[in-house]
Amino acid sequence: MAGGGEELKLLGMWASPFVMRVKLALGFKGLSYEDVEEDLFGGKSELLLKSNPVHKKVPVLLHNGKPVCESQIIVQYIDEAFPSCTGPSLLPTNPYERAIARFWGAYIDDKLLASFLQSARCKTEEEKVEGQKQTAVAVENMEAAFKEISKGKPFFGGDTVGYLDVTLGALVSWVQAAEKLYGLRLFDATRSPLLNAWAERFAALDTAKAVLANVDKLVEYAKHRQAAAAAASSN
């Protein structure tokens, strides 16, 4: 439970992996919060526009009314603002290990996710192939990172979930949805056996089960968004 007098409100959207990332962090830290669902396509709320005027995006975490934006920044904020809550620290305490966690956190969004999205969304065959190539490299790097960082333990964070588990774990439902939508498999038993096992292990955790969106619903959502985009561009 959040401490007495601490109000946490999360502006989000059920399908956003970046919102899921924040919910995972809140869940693993044992913090309760008000979950506010934004209608991103119908009309963003006044509160969202006021709280994130620069990007107008979710997630936004409001702590006693003060907004924190950008999912990885929010996760680090949660870790630092609530040091004595029920869950363990998400970032390691050792400065070098923290640097490693931050490095791979950036890599997950800037390289792994970016190339995966390119391979899924790109229109030309050439761009798609390039995206797939880069994704394969990114997965290979991530697999090696997991091996080195976990040191044989179940999670990036060791025995318990840490920063990288939350950062990458947030993508797991979409990774599964992408397989159904595009036939693209991000983690597989042959080329990334450790990450493949980790993904299953992570998704089986109670907090993950409570937070990660239903894969079939994501598939339906993606198809709906694609149709809406196609209709818009043909007008």
Partner: protein, 239 residues
Amino acid sequence: MASARGGDELRLLGTWSSPWVIRVRVALGLKGLSYDYIEEDLSNKSDLLLKSNPVHEKVPVLIHAGRPVCESLVILEYVDEAWPSTTGPPLLPCDPYDRATARFWTAYVNDTFLPAYRALFRSLTEEQRAEAFKNAVPKVETLDRALVECSKGKPFFGGDTVGLVDIALGSHLVWIRVVDEVAGTNLLDGAKFPGLAAWAERFMAVDAVKEVMPDAGKVLEQYKGFRAKWIAAAGSTST
């Protein structure tokens, strides 16, 4: 330079004009840390660089007691945390909310401002230049407002002293001015953005910054060299 605490070995792999390397050099200077600087030839990367940053093969890389730290902002936070009680004040504030704010604006510099500025840096035609400039100005407006919010009337984004946001943005100032000179633009226009322009002067006057900023004339020559290559490459693609 003041000596590193505890005789820990510090090496920095960099290139003389890279603003990302300058970020790290400014931070190390502010912290009073001495280090071995190794100039890399990016067309012929050293074994040490390739071994230390196999994922990106880029500079800067900070090697501390043999262990590499990569990515300029990761290095900055590492330097702040690994040497908490050095001569200079912390690069990040102590309060978690203020830290989140500093990280937000640093991410804005990296993910929103710099890509827009990069389009100006890379523009070859008058048309591209005008488009890029038009797109970059609103980002500068936002940073001008951010300065007011973060500084709360004090000289820097970090308050009384230089902080993470100051370093992240300020380290690009020589390049911004060089690109302005060649493009005939004025991105940090003192008339439109007096707060930010004054901040830029203050940042450039800080000792730790003056010591490591590359010579503007040399940067200009390097930029002209890049442009000549890009123009030649653009001209040689047949239509």
